[in-house]
Amino acid sequence: MRLIISLLAFVVSGLLVGCSSLMLKPADFSWPVESVLKSDGKGMVQESRYQLSFSIKPLLFEETGDSTNVAGITVRMIRDQMGYYYLVAPKFKNVYVFTSAEGGLKLEKKVMISEAGLGAPAFNARPPHVQLLNGNDKPRLLSKSGIQEGAQQ
C-alpha cells in the first residue's frame, strides 16, 4: 500500500511539473508616462505609442450609469510594472485597475478615491506603484490592490 501511495505521489508530481506553464521573469510593463486618450463617437479610444485600442463604454456605464454619451470623453491611462492598466477620467470617483484578458481588459480592482469626484486627475509612473495626482490634493500611490497608505511617494 505504501508503495502504491509513493508511486502515485511520484506520478502526480511528475504530471504537475509537466503541466506548469513557462514564465519569463522578471518583466517590466510600466509606461514612463500616462496616455491621455479621447474617445471617438463609438466610445473607442486608441493609444498610438503602444498600439492599444478598446471601448470605454462599459467603463463609463460602470462609473456614471450612462453609456450613451461616450464621444469626446478624455480618459487617462497608465500601466504599472506588473502590467496592470489604471484608468481614470475627470469627475470619476474611482480609479479602475484592469488586467489583460482575451480580447479585452478585465477589471481587477475599482479603487474609490473621492466621493465628490476627481477634478483634474493624472497618473505618474512611480515604480513599483502608480502615483495619482488631483490638482492640489496630496498625491496618492496606487497599486493593483488599491491605495498604498504610507508608501514612499
Binding site: 514612463p32 508616462v33 496616455s35 491621455v36 505609442r49 493624472a122 497618473f123 505618474n124 495626482l133 492640489n136
Partner: protein, 425 residues
Amino acid sequence: MRTLLSRSFCFIVLISVPFLLPAQVKSDYQVTQEFEKESQAIAQAVEIANTVVECVDVESRITTLEETYKEYKALLDRALYPDGFDGRIMKLRGQISYAKGKITIIETQYARISELEAQVRELTGQVEKLSGENSAMLGEVKRLSASKMTIDSLNAVIIKLRQGLRDRDGLIFALVDSLFLQYDKDAAAMNDKEREGVAARLERKNVFSSIKKAVNDNLQFLEATSLTGNDIAKLTAEQQKFESKWKAFGKKLANVYVSGKSARAKEVALIDTMLTQWKGKLDGMFWKSLNGVFGSHQVSVTAFSTGEEFYANVSSYLEEEIRKARDEKDGQRYFRFQAFADSVWDAEVKPAWIPAMIEGGKLTRAQVDTLEGMVDEWSGIVSPPLTMVYVIIGIIMVVVVFYLYRRYLKTKKSGGSGEGGAPAS
C-alpha cells in the same frame, strides 16, 4: 489699536496664503507635453527664421529649453521615444545649424547680388559713355581722312578710338557676365521665372543694342582706316576674343530665349551675321597685309588667303630655299636667308602674326613648329659653323698682323739704309 492689530493679522494671512497652500504637482504627462509644445514651437521658429539674428534667437530658446528641462531628463528620455531628451535637443540644434548655414549663404548671396547689381549699373553707364565717345571719334577719323589733315592728328585719333573700342567691347561682356552671375547658376538650369528675369535685365541694360553697336563700330573703324601690319594682327586677336565671348554668351542666350521665334532670338542671329562680316573683313585685311609683309621684302612666297594656304606656300618656299641652299655655294644664299629670317620671319611674322593665327585657329602649334624647324634647317645650311668662323677670323688676323709687321720691318730697313747712305753735304 484693535483695528491696527486686525489689519496686521489680515496682511500676514494674505501674504502667507500662497506658502501655506500646497504647490500643485505637475504630472509627468504635463511636463512631457510642455516640453513637446516648446520644442515644436522652436522647430516652427526654425522653419520661419529668415535672418541670422532670428537664428541666434532660436538658438537661445533651445538653450533655455535644455536648461529648464534638464531636471526631467530621466523622464523625458523614457517618454520621448525614440529620441530621448538629448536626441530631441540635438535634433533642434541640427535644424537650427542647417537653417543658419542656409540663411548665411542666402545673406552672402544677397550681398553679392547687390554688389553685382551696382557693378552692372556702373558698367552700363561706362558702356554708354564710351559708345558716345567712340561715335564722335569715328566721325573725327572720317573727317580727318577726307580732309587729308596732318597724319599725326589722324593717327592720334585712331589710337584713341582703338583703345575706346577695345575698352567698350570688354565692358559689354563684363556687364553680361555680371548679369548672369547674379543668378549663380547655368542658364540651362534656370526656371521660367528666372529666365524672364534675365531677359528683362538684358533689355533694361540695352545689352543687344550695345553688342550690335560694338560690332558696327568695329566694322566702321576698319572701313575708315587703312591699317597694316601689326595693327591687323592685333585687331584680329581682339575680334577673336570678342567672338569667343559672344559664343559663350550666345549659349546662355539660347537658354534664356528658348523659343527661337522671339524677336530677341532673331536679333541673336543678326549679331552672328554681323560678326561673320566683321571676321570676313578682318580676315581679308589680315591675309592681304601678311602677303604684303613677304612682298615688301622681296620674299617670293606664293599668295595665300587661308591658314592652310599660308602653311603650304611658306613650306614650299622654305623647301625650295633649303634645296637651293644645298645646291648653290655662292654668297647670295646667305643674303637670301637673311632677308627672309631677319626682316620677315623673326622681325614680323613670328612675333605679330603667328600668335594671332594660332589664337584664331588658322594655324596649329605643330604647323608652326614644322615651319620653325625648316627655318632652322635653312639657317644651318647657309650659316658657317661658329668655330670655323673664329678660326677663319683668327687666320685672317694673323695674316694681317704678319703682313703689317713685314711692312713695318721693310719700312724701317729702307729708312735706316737711306739715313746711313746719304752723303754729308
